[in-house]
């Protein structure tokens, strides 16, 4: 597959990069020649990713980070700038997920967990990289929303509310930081293979949501994190998107066609 997006040498932070969509994005950005800073909560997964990036010859830092840790996010940005001299992009991907739970059964802890790791974690990351991007006069921030959130998928109350909050923050940041040359956009992917139940009977509600989603898509399949979602994120990190900000891009094979 040919690539026309040039991210060679760009310094990009990808949070939650050790699995799922974050891992696919990191791999695609590595293919494009970016220098990466990757984070994950679990050291074993992070070590595996770091070893893979070593094997690819991708200059990188690997840092254990819980996205709720605001001081950790600040330290991560400082470490990135110290190691590479700049921060070109942030892919604020990390977020804890919650299994299907009816609204009437959601606890305060459920909500706090999703809001702490979702919009608050995203904001801490954005705040941390802003000073560097502002000084550079250029920056690209990509946040992660959800197709399920826009549709209001049943059983995903905390997740849906956290993802829509991220889209709200995205738009505000775009307006506030546009004058600094920083764009802030959101991607809503469909790439669920890593979350789909191996046996649909184990989680019929979730299996039904996934099956219905694929059925309605013009490109009627799950998105591949590296080859389908990664290029769309890369576009938003590139100069080709320099006049787009505050927008949501659906990376869902055409499932949702709003607005």
């Amino acid at each position: 597959m040919g690539n026309d997006i040039d991210l060679d040498g760009h310094v990009i932070i990808v949070t939650g990069a050790s699995k799922g969509i974050g891992l696919g994005i990191a791999r695609h950005l590595a293919d494009l020649g970016a220098r990466l800073v990757v984070t994950a909560r679990k050291p074993e997964a992070l070590e595996a990713l770091s070893a893979e990036l070593d094997g690819r010859g991708t200059p990188h830092l690997a840092r254990q980070l819980n996205t709720t840790d605001r001081e950790g996010a600040v330290a991560l940005a400082a470490d990135t700038a110290a190691a590479f001299g700049r921060i070109d992009g942030l892919v604020a991907n990390a977020q804890t997920f919650l299994s299907v739970t009816p609204l009437e059964e959601i606890t305060e802890r459920n909500m706090d967990l999703l809001l702490d790791t979702g919009p608050k974690g995203t904001l801490w990351g954005m705040q941390s990289v802003l000073p560097y991007m502002r000084e550079q006069g250029r920056g690209r921030i990509v946040t992660m929303g959800s197709n399920a959130a826009i549709n209001g998928a049943a059983g995903y109350g905390p997740y849906v509310s956290s993802k829509e909050a991220i889209r709200g923050i995205t738009r505000v940041a775009a307006r506030e930081w546009g004058p600094y040359g920083v764009t802030v956009n959101c991607v809503c992917p469909v790439s669920v293979a890593h979350r789909a139940p191996a046996n649909p009977e184990d989680d019929p509600v979730r299996a039904a949501v996934f099956a219905e989603t694929f059925k309605s898509q013009p490109i009627a399949r799950d998105g591949d994190a590296a080859n389908d979602i990664g290029p769309i994120v890369a576009f938003l990190l590139s100069d080709a998107s320099q006049y787009m900000t505050g927008q949501t891009l659906m990376a869902d094979g055409g499932a949702i066609m709003r607005p």
Partner: protein, 228 residues
Amino acid sequence: MTTRAGRRVVVTGDTALAEGVAAGLRELGALVVLLDAAYETEDDVRAAMEAAGDALGGGIDQVVHSWVEPALLDAQVFAELSEETWAIACEHTLEVAWWTARQASPALRETQGSLVFLVPTIGMAGGAGYAMLAAVAEGVRVLAKGCGRQWGTTGATCNTVAVAPHHWTGDAAGAELTRNITLSVPAFGGQGDAASDLAPLVALLADDDAHFLTAATMVADGGTWMGL
């Protein structure tokens, strides 16, 4: 889907926007035919598309449609619009968009190519005095969604790029319309340069990298309208 060098592109429209996007695509290495004529019938569109394909060496990788009937670009009080004006301006512009999609379809299916419609953001946000232009913009966006759904299995894609209204209405009217589009501060504002801000985005939509984007609306208006 192709790489940009030597990509065969047809751009429709007789505005500075069409010329600017064509110039920007050429700077990126594409071969571009600019179709700036008006069309009366679908046969006119078919003939123009065939001639463009021949001029490009026998194939088309991307079609960028921005043509509108010039009468759409004049501010008019909606309540005073005549049925005749509506038919000549609004309906005919939609017809030409539909004909363009239909006549571009065989070539784009063959190349797994890209159809891009350029529209003003006032379709999504409304624009006093430009009801027909707004209606056309929304009609075209629905057409793009239909094409996207129908072409999904062929590898051809169809997307819309929504840009600042200035490109159609001129600077003064565009600025007024933009003030009404957003209740908050635009991130960048302005209208964007067709060659350097918009053409790279149009080019991206024909890249391999964009193969999973179809039926989408890319808003490139400097962060003014953020409705999705």
